[in-house]
């Protein structure tokens, strides 16, 4: 469970995140939506303590993320926008291994996690391939596998569909759906609800750092456009 309590994040004078209190349950598919500059990326980077709150607090499973960064980052894994820019190794296997190795796990556990994570995105058996020889969709899946290897309870993805063609989007969304069915909470950050509306349990819309709408996709769909979010197609 991820919980923010009166979270405030400032960039200079402006408040990128302004008094946000949210509770994200385990195993739910949540979409955090809003136009550029609404504070959605800043908000989710607090979920695993990558940023430090100016006011308020963030708790993962009851522990404050500032005091428990390792727990927070293993429980809340993150896939950043444009994953091409975030790989830490040249080959698939070496990149997926990075997270678990940092946790100091045994060689056997690391190998198991790598297997499981790559299987979850159907990239198993391709450990030795070079990442820059993969397609955009395959790279997105390897990035997800790298996060899954942390064995998180929540997976946060920032604009996971940007730059992907339609079949790749469908494939990624399909993997996310299956993750959710397997009990992993999924948080997708986007400004465009068309891809994810069918999968989402809940939509949180941010506007100028505050929560403007919060509810099931059907309940908020009609008001999305007024907050600069592209509504799902009917």
């Amino acid at each position: 469970m991820i919980e923010t309590r009166g979270l405030v994040h400032r960039y200079g004078e402006s408040r990128a995140v302004d008094d946000v209190s949210l509770t994200l349950d385990d195993g739910a598919f949540v979409v955090v939506a809003g136009p550029n500059g609404s504070g959605k990326t800043t908000l989710v980077r607090h979920f695993n303590g990558l940023l430090t709150p100016d006011e308020g607090a963030v708790l993962v499973d009851g522990d404050d993320v500032t005091d428990h960064p390792v727990t927070a980052r293993s429980s809340v894994a993150m896939v950043f926008q444009d994953p091409r820019e975030c790989f830490v190794a040249a080959t698939v296997g070496a990149d997926v291994t990075f997270g678990p190795a940092n946790l100091g796990l045994s060689h056997e556990t690391i190998a198991e996690r790598r297997q499981t994570a790559l299987r979850a995105v159907r990239m198993d058996g391709r450990e030795d391939e070079r990442i820059d020889e993969l397609s955009g969709g395959e790279q997105a899946r390897v990035a997800i596998a790298g996060a899954l290897a942390m064995e998180p309870t929540h997976l946060v993805l920032d604009e996971p569909f940007a730059g992907l063609d339609w079949p790749a989007r469908e494939a990624v969304l399909d993997h996310l759906r299956r993750l959710e069915e397997g009990g992993t909470g999924v948080v997708v950050v986007t400004h465009d609800l068309r891809d994810v509306a069918t999968a989402a349990d809940r939509v949180v819309v941010l506007s100028e750092g505050r929560v403007a709408l919060d509810g099931p996709p059907d309940a908020v769909a009609d008001r999305l456009a007024e907050f600069g979010v592209r509504p799902p197609e009917r």
Partner: protein
């Protein structure tokens, strides 16, 4: 470039292979004579055989080094004044160039048979503590971003050519290429640092496993023999005085 395979050299411990490279380089420098280099050629042949690499394959990969190797003897052979050519002056640089060729071929055998992760492991074993961890990490990142940045530069040069950039003065062309390469380096490093932190970037990760077997002992023996041979010219007078 690394080529996956199952040769003897592929199975060797990267530390043993590094030791052979260093030993060979030292020996080649200590014995840069026709005889010494003949022995060296034999060792190179063994290394390439162990790596199942044909000499011409290794040479093809290194073909761009050839101008550098030829430059030494060529520069030295030309004299500013009659008789303009002095072939005897080219002997020393030619031997040096041949020595370099041998050293580079041994290194090529290492490069072809050692994946980056094994080199990282060897580095972290060789350099203990945080510096070793940082070095291993950075080498892995260079392996990843070398191709990314190279692709950036290629695109810039193509775009420049398309817009008749070849009419610009050379320093301006250099500046444009460099700015294209550098422009996103800071943006990239911000994102990369964040992504590494999100995956718990730590000082004390599980290190890749290294196994030192009987074949590695043989390789290490070769390395030690080479180092010993490299030291003989320096140690000979000392040994003679002891006897």
């Amino acid at each position: 470039m690394y080529a996956p395979g199952t040769s003897l050299a592929h199975r060797l411990d990267p530390r043993a292979k590094l030791a052979v490279q260093v030993g060979f380089a030292l020996a080649a420098f200590a014995h840069t004579s026709p005889r010494g280099l003949l022995v060296g050629t034999g060792v190179v042949a063994c290394c390439l055989w162990a790596a199942r690499t044909a000499p011409w394959e290794a040479l093809t990969e290194l073909r761009l080094l050839v101008p550098f190797l030829l430059a030494g003897p060529l520069v030295e052979v030309v004299v500013l004044g009659p008789p303009w050519l002095a072939p005897e002056q080219a002997v020393a640089p030619a031997l040096a160039s041949y020595r370099t060729l041998l050293v580079v071929l041994v290194a090529a055998a290492y490069v072809r048979t050692t994946p980056t992760r094994e080199s990282q492991a060897a580095l972290q074993w060789l350099v203990p503590g945080k510096p070793g961890r940082a070095l291993g990490l950075c080498v892995g990142l260079v392996a990843r971003y070398l191709t990314v940045l190279r692709a950036d530069l290629r695109r810039t040069r193509t775009a420049m050519r398309a817009r008749l950039g070849d009419r610009l003065p050379v320093h301006e062309r250099i500046r444009l290429v460099a700015v294209a390469g550098l422009g996103r380096v800071f943006d990239r490093s911000d994102r990369l640092a964040l992504a590494m932190r999100a995956r718990c970037l730590s000082w004390n990760p599980t290190l890749p496993r290294l196994r030192f077997g009987p074949a590695d002992a043989v390789a290490l023996g070769l390395a030690l023999a080479l180092i010993g041979w490299a030291l003989t010219p320096a140690l000979a007078p000392v040994l003679a005085s002891l006897v």
